[in-house]
C-alpha cells in the first residue's frame, strides 16, 4: 500500500485500541502507533513517533493525534524523518477511521482530505 497511517496518543491503550478499531476496516493499510511516554506514562514521546514512522512499511504517511502537545512532538519528528508525512488536525478516532476506510477502498488522497475537512476540530 502506498500510504500508511500513524496514530499518536497520550495513552498507550488509546493508540493500540484505535489501531484495533481501524485495522478492522482496512486490513491492507499499514498502521503503526506511538502511545504514551517511554516509561508508559500519559504523554507523548518524539522517539516513539519516530519509531512509528520508521516501522511503518509505507513511505507516505497520514498522521493523527489526540491533544496539542502530541502535535508538537509529531512536528518535531516530521522535521527529522525522510518520509512524507501528512498531519491532520481532525478528531483522532473519527478522523483516522474515515481516512483508513477510504484508503482501503483505494480513494485518492485529495478526495480523502475533502472527507476529513468536516472532522477538523483542532
Amino acid at each position: 500500500m502506498a500510504y500508511g497511517v500513524v496514530i499518536v496518543s497520550h495513552v498507550e491503550q488509546i493508540a493500540e485500541g484505535v489501531k484495533n478499531l481501524i485495522s478492522q476496516v482496512a486490513a491492507d493499510v499499514p498502521i503503526t502507533t506511538a502511545g504514551g511516554t517511554d516509561d508508559h506514562q500519559v504523554g507523548t514521546s518524539m522517539e516513539k513517533i519516530q519509531k512509528a514512522f520508521d516501522d511503518n512499511s509505507a513511505d507516505e504517511i497520514l498522521a493523527f493525534y489526540d491533544l496539542g502537545s502530541a502535535k508538537m512532538n509529531l512536528e518535531m519528528a516530521i522535521e527529522f524523518t525522510d518520509k512524507q508525512i501528512h498531519l491532520y488536525d481532525v478528531a483522532l478516532i473519527e478522523g483516522s477511521y474515515t481516512a483508513t476506510a477510504l484508503l482501503e477502498a483505494g480513494t485518492k488522497l485529495d478526495d480523502i482530505e475533502v472527507q476529513l475537512k468536516p472532522l477538523k476540530i483542532k
Binding site: V25, A101, L102, A105, G106
Partner: protein, 194 residues
C-alpha cells in the same frame, strides 16, 4: 394472514438455519463497505435465539418476539443488534393486538427507522423492510423474487448511514449486508405462509 406461535417459531428457526449457511457470505458483503462482521454478528445473535426458543413454549407471539429481541440486543454486538432488536420489540408490542403480517412488518420498519434515524435510499436494511411493508399494506402478494429485488436495489445506492457511509460514493456497487440478512428474514417469513 395472522401469524401463530408455531409459524413464528418455524420462521425464526428457518432464519437461523439460513444465517448459519450464509454467515461467511454476509461477512464478505460487509468487508468492502464495513468491518466484515455482519455474518458473525447475526450468527451469534441467532444462535442465542435458537437455543432459547427451540425447546421452549411461548404463550403468545408477543412473548416469543420479546425473547428474540432481548437475545439480539444482547448478543449481536454490531449496529444490527439494536436495529433487529428494536424491530422485534416493536413487533412484540404490536403482536399483543394483531399478528397480521402487514401490522408486524410495519411495526418492525418503524422501529428500525426510529433506532437508525434513517429512511429509504440510504443503503440500509430499511430499503428491504420499507418496500415490503408497502406491498403488504396495499394487500399485494410478495414473492421471494420481489424481496431479492429489494435487496439488489441497495447495490446502486450511496450509503449515508452506518459504517458504509464513511465511504460515500465508494459504497456504490456493493449490496448492503444488512439488506441481505433482512432479505433472508423476510423470505423465511413469506415461506411460512401466514
Amino acid at each position: 394472514m395472522a401469524l401463530t406461535v408455531e409459524q413464528a417459531k418455524t420462521w425464526l428457526e428457518d432464519f437461523y438455519t439460513e444465517i448459519e449457511a450464509q454467515k461467511q457470505y454476509l461477512s464478505d458483503l460487509d468487508t468492502p463497505i464495513g468491518d466484515g462482521d455482519h455474518g458473525n454478528n447475526m450468527a451469534r445473535g441467532m444462535t442465542a435465539v435458537h437455543e432459547d426458543i427451540s425447546d421452549a413454549d411461548f404463550a403468545s407471539v408477543s412473548d416469543l418476539f420479546k425473547k428474540v429481541a432481548m437475545d439480539l440486543i444482547s448478543k449481536v454486538g454490531g449496529a444490527s443488534g439494536p436495529l433487529y432488536g428494536t424491530a422485534f420489540l416493536e413487533m412484540s408490542k404490536t403482536a399483543a393486538g394483531s399478528t397480521e403480517l402487514k401490522d408486524l412488518v410495519s411495526a418492525a420498519l418503524a422501529g428500525i427507522e426510529k433506532r437508525g434515524k434513517a429512511t429509504t435510499n440510504e443503503k440500509t436494511m430499511i430499503d428491504v423492510w420499507s418496500p415490503m411493508a408497502e406491498k403488504l399494506n396495499s394487500d399485494e402478494a410478495v414473492s421471494e423474487a420481489d424481496i431479492d429485488q429489494f435487496v439488489e436495489s441497495t447495490k446502486d445506492m450511496v450509503a449515508t448511514k452506518g459504517r458504509a457511509s464513511y465511504l460515500g460514493e465508494r459504497s456504490v456497487g456493493h449490496i448492503d449486508p444488512g439488506a441481505m440478512s433482512s432479505g433472508y428474514l423476510l423470505k423465511a417469513l413469506v415461506k411460512v405462509g401466514a
